[in-house]
């Protein structure tokens, strides 16, 4: 569990607003398991049904951890799947997710206008659109190399928009 982070006023108010909004209308297939402290959420995600009724993940339940940083929402939070992570070509066994909107910087797609609601929906649709349930190439090597450090420290290349 991440240690409580001191937040800027903007971040505090923004996270509070997002929480309120979430409570009012939670994203489909997701519920909050914990938001204590406010800087670290755990989301329970029901595996989605794929297109045309494909049931790759629909019998599984995943947990996503979201750790907000001081600079949120200018900086994206750390978002990872807790073990056991879904088997997916863009999700590593240590929970790291290769999805552009989770990262800022040169080829990242993070925007401060993205909410956690939208983020978890993107994660779910990433699972829903997958047709090939396999681990990413080099999964073991990657996990051994990066261990538990933040996924934001990895150098991501986002190439496959479809999955």
């Amino acid at each position: 569990m991440a240690q409580a982070t001191r937040l800027s006023t903007v971040a505090q108010r923004r996270i509070q607003s997002e929480l309120n909004e979430w409570m009012r209308s939670p994203p489909e297939g997701c519920c909050l398991e914990s938001c204590e402290p406010m800087t670290s959420w755990v989301v329970i995600m029901q595996g989605p049904e794929g297109a045309g009724g494909v049931r790759l993940y629909s019998d599984e339940v995943f947990r996503v951890r979201i750790d907000f940083g001081e600079q949120y929402p200018l900086d994206p939070p750390d978002v990872i799947f807790l073990a056991p992570a879904p088997i997916h070509p863009h999700i590593y066994s240590n929970g790291h997710i290769c999805l552009d909107i989770l990262y800022s910087g040169r080829n990242g797609g993070w925007s401060p206008a993205l909410t956690m609601s939208k983020v978890v929906l993107s994660l779910r649709s990433m699972l829903a659109s997958n047709t090939d349930k396999r681990k990413p190439p080099g999964d073991a090597e990657y996990c051994a190399r990066v261990g538990n450090r933040s996924p934001k420290l990895s150098n991501w290349v986002f190439e496959d928009d479809k999955v």
Binding site: V10, S17, L74, S104, S111, K118
Partner: protein, 628 residues
């Protein structure tokens, strides 16, 4: 100006004409042809076609504004838009125009250019909207948006802009942060400037200026320390084509790969070589760590670089690294420094086990590398020293000399020229060792490659020897003259001796330039057509058979340079140890003869005197003109 100096000057020119057979005008013409990589170094005077231009800050800004203005006028767009489209097409304004007019919508879409909507009514300005970053509501007039009308509060914009600016030049292409923004509207420069701090504003402007150089394929920054000049390439360069440039700050580097200038070697060779050097430095350490025990006292011995000759630091026993035998039993009979016949023989008899053979192979390849690296490194260091000396000479010595000899400094330019030549030649020479390492790897297995290698080493050897003579003259002779002049400052200056020195130095500079020109041109051309190039001259009767009449080189003549690969001098020979006979053989084959006095390679095989120094030709070809 005193009479003395007048006399000094006119005298010198007359002598130069007669002795070197070339007037200043002739030499200028040659310079034009010679087109060295460092041609840009000379102050425009002698070299008409420099393929690049040094742009100081002011010129750079002018050029940038001109490029912007042109696109703004032709496309009828504002500066902000012009900047974006120029950046997209790497500041190639003709491409910009082409793309803009043929794919107007596509280009605009890719840049996030959105049509400005009409002014929003007063009512809309009074209305409140929610900022989708901080989730607070504000009156719209206190909010800002790009052309897409996705409003955010000023504080959130500030945070967004600050963060973008801290992430580098990509901030020039900042887009609307809204997740609903389908067009991904660009954030106008004016909005950035309105909300950024003073410091950030200047950072943004700097990125815009830098874009003109960094996003521009015909521009690069000078790599010199603290130099703010840019270099503009004025010619079409092929992809990955090397181009040596020299900045007005005196930094020299390759426009393409930004490494130190490296003509005549390709960028690829330079990169591989430099990578190898850094990789090998570990490897060499490993080898050095794996020392052999002294055969006498068993103290672990580190190997001396290059040479097989080992000396134990404890008992002073001198032995051979390969066979561990006493060095006294070694020498010419065992094949010289780099080959130990005792070891070769023992290997044949099977006295060495697999382990030592494998170690031997690994070592041989390391030895080969070290041979080239040592020389690369030595010339590299010699160049650095020469650079320092050159600036010392032009700063301190020239004025003193001018004073003592009562000569205007412009008349002492030949000294600067000699030093510039030395610095540049050291640089070229060092890169030829990187070239040699890669180009002739197969010399032991392929006789054609061996022949090319022989010719390469011949050209390289000529260049190197000539440069050593020039360097020595510029260093020692000049030093002696300055010292002497200082001591005899009160009228005892030996004008004649200085005159001789001047003539000599000019001649050596010229001759060295000639050798290097030849070497550089041959390397750039490659050796594949070498046989064909020289075949004509051999057929003319100037080849080995003609040389034979001299009688001195009958043994090696038949094979020409190829023979050098099979004479038993296997592996790397020390250049100094190379037999004279080989040189003469190569000479005949290549169709020129080397002057004994100034070392110039004369092309005219029938000439009786050296084209450069007029020295009578010695040796087999001399006098009788018996080559034909």
């Amino acid at each position: 100006m005193s009479d003395d100096s007048e006399e000094f000057r006119s005298g010198s020119e007359d002598e130069e004409m007669s002795d070197y057979g070339a007037s200043d005008a002739d030499m200028d013409v040659e310079d034009d042809d010679d087109d060295y990589g460092f041609a840009g170094a000379e102050e425009v005077s002698t070299v008409p076609k420099v393929p690049y231009k040094v742009l100081p800050k002011e010129d750079l800004n002018k050029q940038r504004e001109k490029a912007l203005r042109e696109v703004m006028d032709v496309l009828g767009i504002d500066e902000d838009t012009a900047m974006r489209v120029l950046r997209k097409y790497k500041w190639d304004s003709s491409r910009v125009q082409e793309e803009w007019f043929s794919k107007y919508d596509q280009v605009r879409e890719s840049l996030g250019l959105v049509d400005e909507p009409g002014p929003s009514g007063r009512a809309a300005c009074e209305a409140e909207e929610r900022c989708f970053i901080c989730f607070d509501s504000f009156p719209v007039r206190d909010m800002r948006s790009a052309a897409c009308r996705h409003y955010f509060c000023k504080d959130c914009w500030r945070g967004y802009i600050t963060q973008a600016l801290s992430s580098g030049p990509a901030c020039l292409d900042l887009r609307c942060p809204s997740t609903e923004c389908k067009q991904k509207a660009c954030v106008p420069c004016a909005l950035v400037m309105e909300l950024a701090s003073g410091e950030e504003q200047s950072k943004y402007s700097t990125y815009m200026v830098r874009s003109f150089v960094e996003d521009n394929s015909s521009m690069c920054w000078c790599t010199g320390k603290n130099c703010e000049n840019a270099i503009q390439c004025l010619v079409d360069r092929g992809p990955d084509e090397a181009m040596d440039v020299i900045c007005s700050c005196s930094a020299t580097f390759c426009f393409n790969c930004k490494e130190e200038a490296h003509r005549p070697v390709s960028c690829k060779t330079v990169k591989t070589w430099l990578t190898k050097n850094s990789a090998e430095s570990e490897n060499m350490n490993w080898i050095l760590a794996n020392t052999k025990p002294c055969p006498k006292c068993s103290r672990p011995i580190e190997k001396n670089q290059g040479c097989m000759h080992m000396t134990c630091s404890q008992c002073r026993f001198e032995f051979c690294w390969l066979c561990q035998g006493d060095w006294k039993e070694h020498g010419e009979r065992t094949g010289g420094f780099y080959a130990c016949n005792r070891f070769e023989t023992a290997k044949k008899k099977g006295e060495y086990d697999d382990e030592s053979r494998r170690r031997e192979n690994a070592k041989a390849s390391l030895e080969r590398y070290m041979h080239y690296f040592e020389r690369f490194d030595a010339h590299s260091k010699a160049r650095e020293k020469a650079r320092l000396d050159a600036s010392k000479v032009s700063k301190d010595w020239l004025e003193q000399l001018a004073d003592i000899t009562k000569t205007p400094t412009s008349q002492l330019k030949f000294i600067n020229e000699a030093w510039n030549q030395i610095v540049e030649c050291r640089r070229m020479l060092k890169w030829t060792y990187a070239y040699g390492y890669y180009a002739f790897e197969d010399a032991d297995r392929n006789s054609e490659v061996a022949r090319h290698k022989g010719f390469f080493e011949f050209l390289q050897g000529d260049a190197e020897r000539s440069l050593e003579r020039l360097h020595e003259a510029a260093e020692k002779d000049l030093g002696a003259h300055v010292t002497k002049a200082r001591n005899q400052a009160d009228g005892g200056f030996d004008a004649d001796a200085f005159q001789t020195f001047r003539k000599n130095l000019i001649g050596l500079t010229d001759v060295t330039a000639g050798f290097f020109d030849k070497l550089v041109k041959q390397l750039e051309k490659g050796f594949s057509s070498m046989e064909a190039d020289y075949a004509g001259q051999v057929d003319d009767g100037a080849g080995p058979s003609g040389v034979n009449e001299g009688g001195e080189q009958a043994a090696g003549a038949a094979g020409g340079p190829a023979a050098t690969g099979t004479t038993g001098h296997k592996g790397r020979r020390s250049k100094k140890a190379r037999g004279v006979d080989e040189d003469v053989v190569l000479l005949g084959e290549q169709g020129f003869w080397t002057c004994n006095k100034c070392t110039y390679n004369n092309q005219d095989l029938t000439a009786r005197r050296c084209e450069v120094c007029n020295e009578a030709r010695a040796g087999p070809g001399g006098g009788a003109g018996n080559r034909r």
